[in-house]
Each structure stands twice: as structure tokens, then as C-alpha cells.
Amino acid sequence: MIRDSAGPQPQAADSSPGSAVPSAQQVGNTLAVEDLQTFFFTKTGVVKAVNGVSFGVSKGEVLGLVGESGSGKTVTGFSVLGLVDPPGEVVGGSIRFQGRELVGLDDAAMREIRGSRIAMIFQDPMMTLNPVLRIDTQMIEAIQAHARVGRAAALARSREVLLKVGIASPDERLKSYPHQFSGGMRQRVAIAIALLNEPDLIIADEPTTALDVTIQAQILYEAQTLCRETGTALVWITHDLTVVAGLADRICVMYAGRDVEQGDVDDVLDYPLHPYTYGLIGSVPSRNRRGQLLRQIPGMTPSLLNLPPGCAFRARCDRATDECHREPPVMEHGDNRRVRCFYPHTGGSQ
């Protein structure tokens, strides 16, 4: 087992890993993001890509971070890993990982955490893989960057992890180049690299969007097994509600840079409070009677450049009033349930 002994040790969780519903005080003991703000200072103006997002993930828990393009879900993931480059900047809020503040951490300290304690899986596995290096080179490199181990031990660890993600003949595969793999296989290798150092948190950014249904199911299976067995916390970023319905324990819905609603997966999907979540669930084809028109959300996502104050969804919302020109308050609804709306739905998703 390879673990950087100098690195921060994970806090002991109150309950066993993999328990489906965490208790209230346990929420966010691996990662706690509080009122995160990441802005991009472009020539045409300030793009508030993430403008007030709070969520937490605990050991062994899967959080589905759901939103459409431009909702800021990817930038949120990048912010946690300190991957936001100029003109982007984390301008406010806090990101606490196992109690340690990540905002404002210097590059060297961040580098120690990134790839070791927190790993990321990207939508396009070729963002992780170097096309001109063999898989074994890349995997050994990733281990030796964080731990003082010999080549042979690192190779053995790589082999073990490849087997774990369902790659049948790891010895042969280790000697291959990325272009010799299929899309699904590449994504497995990218996941294997994320697992090498046994991270406490994995942020997965739409890792199955480009894959076929049968291959997607295989990757979801690996992710699920992983969280159950190792207690790794997982943030699964996606635009697809149906994927997180099967995978996630909790859901956080983002719209135009804000978290508009979050809660346990069953609560959010069965009793959506925010009109946007309600509309999103309504526009999933399987929820509608065949041949009938889908319940669509009118209009389109607003530009994040110079977004006016108030609720960003009001132009598309059938419940909006003049009140919505003011900033909607964050309202707590029972256990771990939050919504940002003046007029939340109450009647369930049907």
C-alpha cells in the first residue's frame, strides 16, 4: 500500500464507509465548499462563472453536481483542485478539505494534495493521458510524484489498480500507448490513474458523457464499487439527471453559477422545490407520456456576463414575480435540504 505518510491523514468518519445516508453532522467532513465565488476577468467584462456555491461531501458519499452548459459546474470542480487559470480567479468563499482551507494555498502545498489526496477525472481522457508516453510510464510517474517508492513497487501498484478498474490483461496494457485503446478503455485508464494514490476525494467531470450506454454502465459500476469499498468521496459532475439518479446519494443542482437546490437524491427527484429542478425533471423524456409534448422550460440559459441581480432563472420561470428581482434567500427544508427560491414547488415532480 502506497501512501504519502507526510500528507494529511483523513479524519475518521462517524459511521462505516458506504452508509447511504450520512447523519447531519457528518455531511461535508471530507469536502466543505462554502459560498464559493470564481470570476473570470475578461476584456468584455466580469464573468461570474461560480457565484455563491456551497456543498459538502463525506467519506464514501457520492454527490451529483448537476447543471447545464455554462452553469459553472466544471469551474466549481476546477476551483476545488486549484486549476483555475487567469483571467479566472477564486475571489471569495472557502473550500475546506478534511478541515484544511484550500483557497489561498500556495502552489507547492496544492501540488502535494492534487493527484494524491484529491484526484480528478475529466470528460475527455486524453486530457489526463499523454499521447506520446506509454501507460506504465505515466502511472509510475503519478505514484513517484507523491511517494518515495521504487519502480518495481510502483509498477505492481499500477497493475493492481488496472485490474481493479476492469482491465483484463494489465501487463500487456501497461506497455501500450493511449491511442491503442478504445474510448471506454482510455477512460478506465484515466480512472485508474486517479485511484493510484488512494485519494480521499475524486472529482469526476462528465466522465461518461462521450461513452456508449453499455460502456457507461461499466464505468458507473466501477465508480460505485470504488466508493463502497474504499470510502472515497465522489463528486460526479454531469448534465444528465438520469445518471446521478442511479449513482448519487445527494444532488446539488446548479444554475447560472449558483447552487439552486440540494438534498438527498430521492427528495430532490421526487419532490423538487426549485422551479428549475422541477422543469429539468419534467423535460426528461421517460417522465412524459409517449407522443405527448414534453414539459419544456422556455428560453435559454442567460449569459453570465453582466448578469443582473436577483434570481437568474426568473426570465424562464412561470412562478416569478417582481419579488424575484431581489436576491432569493437560501431556505433550509429539513435535513440537508436547501433551496434558493421565493416560491418553491411543494407538490412533487409529477
Binding site: G184, L220, H239, R287
Partner: protein, 335 residues
């Protein structure tokens, strides 16, 4: 809506086959002359597929990447020339470009593409993208041009005042609407939609699907709807055709297919479609990858991944047989 309606075939594909051949270059030919074992690489993208689409019907064509569904769609739309087989539109062949009747028929079949960014000419204004084809084909005169374009754009939910703009000034959903307007401008009767909503956000996807359904009603359109998304296909189609590695493996009405899938591949696909209703699910994926179409497995193409595979499956390709009226499936288990 008109499920199971028996209708005269509007479009018919008869043992349609498409082979892509990578020809040997000069060096490879020379090496072969000296006795090296080099052969031309042949991909059998579509392997003698029969397809019948009735008037007013929506047929969903489903399969994973590399199964040949796009190639089939492109042949039907007249973009690709088939290697073998014939395509009939209202009983007459649309192959053979010289034939004016065939050209007329080809105009009645239009295609809407997947990528709303790559399928519009970035240097043409919207008015020209939509209006050029009807003008060239003599459907409208120059004097009617402006009004006609306004009319078509309006039908697709776009404001006529947008028509002086270029494609880059629109969002993905609006661009897809422009693509639809372009297809509708020549007054088609049959539309091939190739993954036309795959690149869109969920809320925009619902808008475009609704538009497809409204247009179907108002213009009496017939669709071949190609998609990998079974949820979308289930919602929109009357009948579903499932393809795997170039062959049709199962085809029946949407209700029957989603209730009682017959072919093991269809069963696997349906089981693995993520649904809103399946929470905290146990994922039990089908094993293995989709084989390379360059070197497909012998017998039934699905046998290396099939949980029910028998020795016969690797030796003999199962024929597409009628298992119930209007329901065909290609599996040895049905014998």
C-alpha cells in the same frame, strides 16, 4: 399516436450494404507483390439491412457507436452511395443521379445533423442557408424569397429578424433550429434526424423534441430518428430498429420492445439505460467492448458479450426472423 398503423411503405431499403475499403497504396502493393500478406482493409459498415418506413411513421434507429446507424441514415438521405442494395421512395428507386424523377424524390428526403456547429456554413447568412435550396430548385422565386424564409424560420421558432445574422451569433439550440429550417425549406416529406438532439442541454433538447412532434403533426412528416438515447427514442418513435455492428438485430413497435425485448443485446441496452426512477441502483453491466467493425466476430456479432451464447452462435449468423407479427429478431434462442 397511430401506433401500429399499417401504412403503405413510404421509404424502403432493400438489402442495403455499405462497405468502406481502404485501398492499398503503391508501397503496400509492391510489398504484396513480393509475397507479404497485406490485404485491403474492409469495413462492412452496413450489412444487407432491410428497412421499411410507412407514411407518417416515426422509426427510431438505435445502436452504439460503430453500429452503422449513421451510415444507414446517410444512404437513405442520399448522401452516401450504397455498395449494394436499393432504396425506394414511394415505390421508385432514388439511386441513379441522372434520373430527374430520382432527383425529385431525393429532394423529398432531407437530413438534420447532430452537430449544430459543424453543419452550418459559417460564412453564409441565415437567410441564404435556409433560402438557397428552394430558390435553386425552383420552389420559390426571388421575389418570394424574403417572405418564404420568414415563414420557415417562424415555423421553427425563430424570429424572422434574425435572418441577416451569421450562424456563430446563435446558441446551440437556435442553430439546431436553423438546421431544421434548412431541411424544411425544400418541403420534404421524409426527414432523417441523425442524433439531432444529442449535443443539446436537457432543457433545450426538450424544446427541439417538441418542435419535431409539432412539425410532424402540422406538416405530416415521416421521420427516421437515429439516436443512441433510448429514452428519447422511446418517447418519440412508433417503431424501433436496433442495430449492432452493421446488422439489424431486432425491430418491432416501441411498446412491445420496451415491455418485452427479445434479443439479448436489446435486453442489455434497456437494462443499462439510466432512468430517473432507478435510484441507488446496482449497475450490472454487460461485459466487454464493442468489437472493431474491421474484424467483427464470426457468427452472431454479439456472441462474445452475450450471456446466453452457445457454440452455434459463434459458427452461424442468426437470420432475422419474424417471431410475432411485425416483430423480427435475430437470435438462435428463438428457434
Amino acid at each position: 399516436m397511430n401506433v401500429g398503423r399499417v401504412a403503405a411503405p413510404m421509404l424502403e431499403a432493400r438489402s442495403l450494404t455499405k462497405r468502406f475499403v481502404k485501398h492499398l497504396d503503391l508501397a503496400a502493393k509492391l510489398v504484396r507483390r513480393f509475397g507479404a500478406d497485406i490485404r485491403e482493409e474492409v469495413v462492412q459498415a452496413v450489412d444487407s439491412v432491410n428497412l421499411v418506413v410507412g407514411q407518417g411513421e416515426v422509426v427510431g434507429l438505435v445502436g452504439e457507436s460503430g453500429c452503422g446507424k449513421s451510415t444507414l441514415g446517410r444512404m437513405v438521405a442520399g448522401i452516401l452511395e450504397p455498395s449494394e442494395g436499393d432504396i425506394l421512395f414511394r415505390g421508385s428507386s432514388i439511386l441513379g443521379a441522372g434520373n430527374s424523377q430520382a432527383r425529385e424524390a431525393a429532394l423529398k428526403v432531407q437530413m438534420i445533423f447532430q452537430d449544430p456547429f459543424a453543419s452550418l456554413n459559417p460564412r453564409m447568412r441565415v437567410a441564404d442557408i435556409v433560402g438557397e435550396a428552394p430558390l435553386v430548385h425552383g420552389i420559390i422565386t426571388r421575389a418570394e424569397f424574403s417572405d418564404y424564409v420568414d415563414d420557415v424560420l417562424d415555423r421553427c421558432g425563430l424570429d424572422g429578424s434574425f435572418k441577416r445574422r451569421y450562424p456563430h451569433q446563435f446558441s446551440g439550440g437556435q442553430r439546431q433550429r436553423i438546421g431544421i429550417a434548412r431541411a424544411l425549406a425544400v418541403k420534404p416529406e421524409f426527414i432523417v434526424c441523425d442524433e439531432s438532439v444529442a449535443a443539446l442541454d436537457v432543457s433545450i433538447q426538450a424544446q427541439i423534441l417538441n418542435l419535431f412532434m409539432e412539425l410532424r403533426e402540422s406538416l405530416e412528416l415521416t421521420y427516421l430518428f437515429i439516436s443512441h438515447d433510448l429514452g428519447v427514442v422511446e418517447h418519440l418513435s412508433d417503431r424501433v430498429v436496433i442495430m449492432y455492428l452493421g446488422r439489424v438485430v431486432e425491430s418491432t413497435t416501441t411498446d412491445a420492445l420496451f415491455e418485452q425485448p427479445n434479443h439479448p443485446y436489446t435486453q442489455a441496452l434497456l437494462r443499462e439505460v439510466p432512468r430517473l426512477e432507478s435510484r441507488h441502483s446496482e449497475f450490472l453491466p454487460v461485459k466487454g467492448e464493442i468489437p472493431s467493425p474491421l474484424d467483427p466476430p464470426g457468427g452472431c456479432h454479439f456472441h462474445p458479450r452475450c450471456p446466453h451464447a452457445m457454440p452455434r452462435c459463434s459458427a452461424e449468423a442468426p437470420a432475422l426472423k419474424e417471431i410475432r407479427p411485425g416483430w423480427v429478431s435475430a437470435c438462435h434462442l428463438n428457434d
